[in-house]
């Protein structure tokens, strides 16, 4: 497949200046004002571009340049604001910023997609909201009492929040956090280029294609994906009720897993490594939960078994054998896991959005779009790593960005008991 006409360029070195990080919100104020002014102009130009493209079948060059510059500037600014880059960005969207996008010159576009662009863009906008939606604060009055609700925002906001503390502490941002933010920025640029008719190529939500270069990692908790993207329309349509028996069974299993996790915490704190029996039990539980969620969120097609047999499902958590763990990290595991849980909740929202969009796509075509499947797999992998970290199946911190699928060493299948059911 050809490369997407809107591509992210990344030359950031991960170093962050603590002073500018601390004041990032205030330093961004001039850019916010300029972005708003430019945004009004872009909106008007976008309407003119829609009419011109509908008539001519191609975006006029001047309008294209104006809108492309706006998207480049917005990406650079948000890259700065959300800590994906360090230097203060220019106000004109000129090339060379560490987080930038390249947008190809105007190409001819199918007129019907131009005419219906506002409707066609809705699924992409939903995913974009999940990745980069703003946090909010709501109040509601009922029977004289006021209740408050805090909306956490999308992945971009969450990684920026976590990254702010990390950058202040270490003077640099971890690659995982930067890449998660870059993935959201890349998708955002593609969405706005599509909405503004700079291209008729649909935004690609595939995290493996979002970055110019993927790191290879050997995390002890991985996700093996052998899914062929085919989906049964019948089981897709009824996916939620079909998952009910699994969800009930998973809940019952989770009660036992919680007790086992507490026992595992105490044992690991004393012995420095998990007891083999508890490790096996919790590994089985985690593998099963990944099977269930992969089925529920359309990351995979077949109905999973009920006991988490290794190798039985096309999307599977691959969990390394038990190792020695730092007692200090074990003692404070819940506190240490808080940032991962925050990011995990943002990824869970992404998984839900991907499932909603994928549900319609799979019903229509009988296939899950690769981009959605991979976005869902990324989210699933992160939540599996977070769960494994909490359950003390390892002490490797969850990696929040996409990486190439280098499978870690696995536990031997012979160690698993024969299935009693399924």
């Amino acid at each position: 497949m050809d490369a997407h006409p809107v591509r992210l360029i990344l030359s950031d070195d991960l170093k962050r200046n603590r002073l500018t990080v601390f004041f990032r919100l205030l330093l961004a104020i001039p850019h916010f004002i300029w972005l708003a002014v430019w945004g009004v102009g872009a909106l008007l130009v976008a309407v003119a571009n829609w009419i011109a493209t509908l008539i001519g079948g191609r975006s006029p060059r001047l309008l294209h340049i104006f809108l492309a510059s706006y998207i480049k500037y917005a990406t650079q600014f948000y890259g700065y604001f959300y800590l994906a880059a360090n230097p203060y960005p220019p106000f004109d969207g000129r090339a060379g910023y560490p987080v930038d996008v390249t947008i190809e010159p105007p190409q001819s576009q199918r007129r019907w997609t131009v005419a219906l662009r506002g409707i066609l863009a809705l699924p992409a906008l939903l995913l974009f909201w999940t990745l980069a939606g703003s946090p909010g604060f709501g109040t509601r009055r009922r029977a004289g009492a006021t209740s408050y609700t805090l909306y956490g925002g999308g992945l971009l906001h969450t990684v920026a929040l976590v990254g702010w503390f990390a950058s202040l502490a270490r003077g640099m941002l971890s690659r995982g956090l930067r890449d998660a933010a870059a993935y959201a920025l890349s998708y955002g640029a593609q969405v706005w280029a599509y909405v503004f008719l700079l291209t008729d190529r649909y935004p690609n939500s595939d995290p493996l294609l979002a970055l110019p270069e993927l790191p290879a990692r050997d995390h002890p908790i991985g996700l093996a994906v052998r899914d062929d993207l085919r989906r049964s329309r019948l089981t897709v349509f009824f996916r939620l009720p079909l998952a009910f028996p699994h969800l009930v069974w998973l809940t019952l299993w989770a009660v036992l897993a919680l007790i086992a996790a507490v026992a595992n915490w105490l044992s690991t704190l004393l012995a420095g490594r998990s007891p083999a029996a508890l490790q096996r039990f919790l590994t089985r539980f985690l593998r099963y939960s990944v099977h269930v969620y992969a089925f529920l969120y359309l990351t995979a097609n077949p109905f999973p078994g009920f006991v988490g047999v290794p190798g039985s499902y096309p999307v599977e958590a691959v969990i390394a054998q038990r190792r020695e763990q730092s007692r200090l990290k074990v003692a404070f595991r819940i506190v240490l896991a808080l940032p991962a849980l925050l990011i995990g909740s943002a990824y869970s929202t992404l998984m839900t959005s991907a499932a909603i969009v994928g549900w319609f796509a799979a019903l229509a075509t009988g296939r899950m779009p690769r981009g959605l499947r991979n976005a869902s797999a990324l989210a699933l992998r992160y939540t599996a790593q977070t769960s494994a970290y909490l359950l003390l199946l390892g002490d490797a911190y969850p990696y929040s960005g996409p990486y190439s699928l280098a499978a870690p060493s696995t536990d031997p299948p012979a160690a698993e008991a024969a299935p009693a059911l399924g």
């Binding site: 009824f238 939620l240 999973p304 078994g305 399924g422």
Partner: protein
């Protein structure tokens, strides 16, 4: 005299002996099977007779009444038209159900490829997908029924709400079918052909448990706030020999205007549930009391437990038949037999429906009789049934086919006739005694 016979003669003798022995074995086995079947049939008949007993006097002879004496011609025409549509809609839905399941029984096993769940898990998936296809096929009929009820102001549930509720309630059906298949296929894996002999009692046990816990599974249930009616119900419970039975209210007014009530549970979980549509001022206090007395009558005569008994009488032969008819697909231990099992079960259930309705109508009559004895208010009973007809658009005298297939309660005319019969029996009716 030869001391040894030739080898061929020895072989022939052994064959003859074996054949004779086989014939005796087969004959003996047949006799044993016939005896077992006979004993089972006798036990079945005895149990059915015990469950059939009723406290309604045998020689009651309720009068034949004409609906036109109690209801206006316009109401009779309207209720008849309302019910006719629903009956035909229901009949078409049933035929569709059978058609879909027949097709599924032939081709459903092709969906096994959609599972990575092993033997029992795949069986569960096939069971759920069978229900899913039925839901899809019956969806238009359900939608038509909602439209019809909305048109007649019986329901005010929105179409989208109905569709979503219906879709999500599939989850409960899926849980039920998964549990049933887990039990049946798990046992079939161990006991092979004889799984049903253990599964049927297990299902009956589960039904008993579900009956016991049913009050906790019903949504939107709260206490009865009307103290006067609560006091009346307490007095009626004492009169019907079920003192201490609690009465609660279920909020359904969001979905329907139809009035109703039910009794659930047994022992400590027994409850009378009144719908809030019964308590919104359309019915007098005495009429609500009569409804509660009717439900207490169900509890007093152990109808909940009797229904489990009837279910046992149905399930034992039904599961044996399922075991027999799924053999061609390798028995219920194999997932490919599940679509066939589903068809057989549903077909048996439909075939038993008229009989089940007879049983249900008999119990309802007994509950009415019990209410009449407890309240000694035949006039209230008569007025209540007339009011129920107008508020629910219930056809007082439906056509025979609809009565046989769908009526799990006596017709309103039959119920009024029971009231009239009670009123004519001076021994049971003394208005001053209350």
């Amino acid at each position: 005299m030869p001391t040894a016979r030739p080898a061929s003669a020895r072989a022939g003798g052994r064959a003859a002996q074996a054949a004779f022995g086989g014939a005796v074995g087969r004959g003996g086995r047949r006799i044993a099977v016939a005896l077992a079947v006979g004993a089972f049939a006798a036990a079945w008949a005895w149990a059915a007779h015990a469950l059939w007993r009723s406290s309604v006097p045998a020689g009651l002879n309720p009068p034949h009444l004409h609906a036109s004496r109690y209801f206006s011609a316009s109401f009779l025409s309207r209720s008849s038209s309302f019910e006719r549509f629903q009956d035909i809609d229901g009949l078409l839905a049933t035929l569709t159900l059978l058609g879909v399941l027949s097709l599924y029984a032939r081709r459903g096993h092709r969906l096994m490829g959609e599972s990575a769940a092993g033997r029992i898990g795949t069986g569960m998936l096939l069971g759920m997908l069978g229900f899913a296809l039925v839901w899809l096929a019956e969806f238009p009929f359900g939608l038509a029924a909602v439209w019809w009820q909305r048109r007649h102001h019986i329901s005010h549930q929105g179409y989208v709400t109905w569709a979503l509720d219906s879709f999500l309630s599939l989850g409960a059906s899926f849980l039920f079918v998964s549990l049933a298949l887990l039990v049946a296929m798990g046992l079939a894996g161990v006991l092979r052909r004889w799984w049903w002999a253990v599964a049927a009692p297990a299902f009956v046990g589960l039904a008993l448990l579900s009956t016991f816990l049913s009050i906790y599974l019903i949504p939107n249930v709260g206490p009865l706030r009307n103290r006067a009616i609560a006091a009346d119900v307490a007095a009626l419970a004492r009169a019907e020999d079920v003192p201490g039975t609690k009465v609660v209210v279920q909020k359904v007014a969001r979905y329907t205007t139809a009035p109703n009530a039910e009794s659930v549970g047994f022992g400590p979980t027994r409850r009378v549930i009144l719908w809030d549509t019964l308590l919104n001022g359309r019915f007098s206090r005495k009429q609500v009391d009569f409804v509660a007395a009717h439900e207490l009558g169900h509890i007093a005569h152990h109808h909940q437990l009797k229904r489990v008994g009837w279910l046992a009488l149905f399930l034992i032969p039904a599961s044996a038949l399922i075991a027999l008819l799924t053999r061609r697909r390798g028995g219920l231990a194999r997932p490919e037999a599940v679509p066939v099992a589903l068809l057989v079960y549903v077909a048996l259930q439909l075939a038993a429906l008229p009989l089940w309705n007879v049983v249900s109508r008999r119990e309802e009559t007994e509950a009415d009789w019990s209410a009449l004895k407890a309240t000694r208010e035949p006039a209230t009973g008569r007025a209540l049934f007339e009011r129920l007809a107008t508020t629910s658009l219930d056809d007082p005298a439906p056509p025979a086919w609809s009565y046989v297939l769908y009526a799990d309660h006596p017709t309103l005319m039959q119920r009024i006739a029971i009231v009239e019969a009670f009123a004519r029996r001076p021994a049971d009716y003394n208005p001053r005694s209350r």
